[in-house]
Symmetry: C2
Subunit: 274 residues, 2 copies
């Protein structure tokens, strides 16, 4: 929790911009956060229960709406089990390869079971607001787990593809009604040979507004960012810039990898989301 | 990023349980995370631009789905502006009192504007999946900002009530179409006289499952947790346990403080969420 003015944290990699001055504030936590990168290649070593306990304690330390704690997490280590989940999540090799897969759950089941036990109504849980609340709780928790993991030298990557086939994932994890898998997190020890680094983000001016949203100012930096991301991609053996990626990813229902069905899946799994 | 085995981090406060052994892993980042509490009483001192820059750099370092970065944040410091937003967010005094209010936005507007500029379709953004993606991106970013803020000695509290009146909040922040305020974050220097501490959470056994979801095992610790939370509440001048709070908070549409309308509000603000 110490803060030092010098030497300042470099943000060149974070923004892909060698001209940016360093942050004037610096500490170990900020350094961990700024160094974040997605890790998709892992050593075979397992992640210990001590590491898992620390990650979950950090996750539980995140804020949660009205202290409802409307989330849970399933830790998957069994190779066959993990491999079946990888098959459901776009067959991404790193999900199978990571020694630990955490599946973060929006969990309105706990509250529903409490209501049933106490014979009380819980119609508020039927609304889209409550689904959001549970998704947000799971996400706040998961991000704290990501930071904790990286502070311990572990690497992680989010697996949004866990939402591609929600009913199959629910079956694979024995999820009770009113529980929905929000995303996966592959966790392990980073392979030092992986060819990937800190991915540059949009300039701060694109995401940070003062008092009121200012679209022309925010969008002014996108072309320069496209060039910076293209340069980064070239360096790690990928191609293309940002704009093209965004436009393809959201082009139509067919580009959502099955997730255009998510509303029906929610209803079917006991989250009416009205 | 150093990890030391001794002395280990105490989790007594986090779980309200004096019998728990300390974590075997420890570092500065974990210590910051485990010490999280909501701060609702602030000193009058302002939060500098340097602090804001560091928080936003941390926020941008969080994972984001397919690097879409479908979020933005509005920093509100103007007293009159902040006071109007506080009025829209259940008139919570601490929103007005905090020197800085960050409003985290699910932002599909940037991608929509890009698509319009390049005359490309973007029908994928119409789906509930894309709304979730933007909510998740905003939340991952915000949680990183919370950790960064706390590592610098700042205090924060989430303001879910920013969702009570979405259209009015959108007007107040000049939000363009396809942008939705997910939650607020009041930020400032903690008043050392505030009577509140680290709020105990459910035992790890309630949220952490191994391989498959196990409801009976997860729910077994709830009664004991109710007693621990009641003891904590008594200490800080509050009343009641957890179960009663959950059942009241989700009892019906009337307990959602206007948020039972969120689906209509999304559609009206350009996030069809189909």
């Amino acid at each position: 929790m110490t803060t030092t003015a010098a030497p300042g944290l470099h943000v060149h990699d974070r923004y892909g911009d060698a001209d940016l001055p360093p942050l004037t504030l610096s500490n170990e936590t900020l350094a961990v956060q700024l160094a974040h990168r997605s890790v998709r290649s892992f050593l075979p070593d397992s992640v210990s229960d001590e590491h898992l306990t620390a990650m979950v304690a950090a996750a539980q330390s995140a804020p949660t709406s009205s202290n409802l704690q409307a989330w849970s997490v399933v830790a998957v280590r069994d190779a066959a089990h993990k491999s079946r989940l990888a098959a459901l999540a776009a067959e991404q090799r790193f999900v199978e390869e990571a020694p630990l897969l955490l599946v973060w759950l929006a969990d309105l089941g706990r509250a529903r079971r409490l209501a049933a036990r106490h014979e009380r109504p819980l119609a508020g849980a039927d609304y889209l607001e409550s689904t959001f609340l549970a998704f947000l709780d799971a996400t706040l928790a998961a991000q704290n787990a990501v930071v904790a993991a990286e502070s311990l030298g572990l690497g992680t990557v989010c697996v949004g593809a866990i939402r591609n086939r929600p009913e199959d994932v629910a079956r694979e994890l024995d999820l009770p009604p009113h529980v929905f898998a929000v995303f996966g997190l592959a966790v392990g020890w980073p392979d030092p040979d992986e060819r990937a680094g800190v991915k540059p983000r949009l300039p701060q001016s694109a995401v940070l507004h003062r008092e009121r949203y200012d679209a022309p100012r925010a969008d002014a930096g996108i072309d320069a960012y496209d060039a910076r991301l293209r340069a980064y991609n070239r360096r790690v053996g990928l191609a293309g810039g940002w704009t093209e990626r965004v436009l393809r990813r959201l082009a139509g229902p067919g580009s959502l990898a099955g997730r255009d069905r998510i509303r029906d899946a929610l209803v079917g799994l006991g989250l009416p989301s009205r």
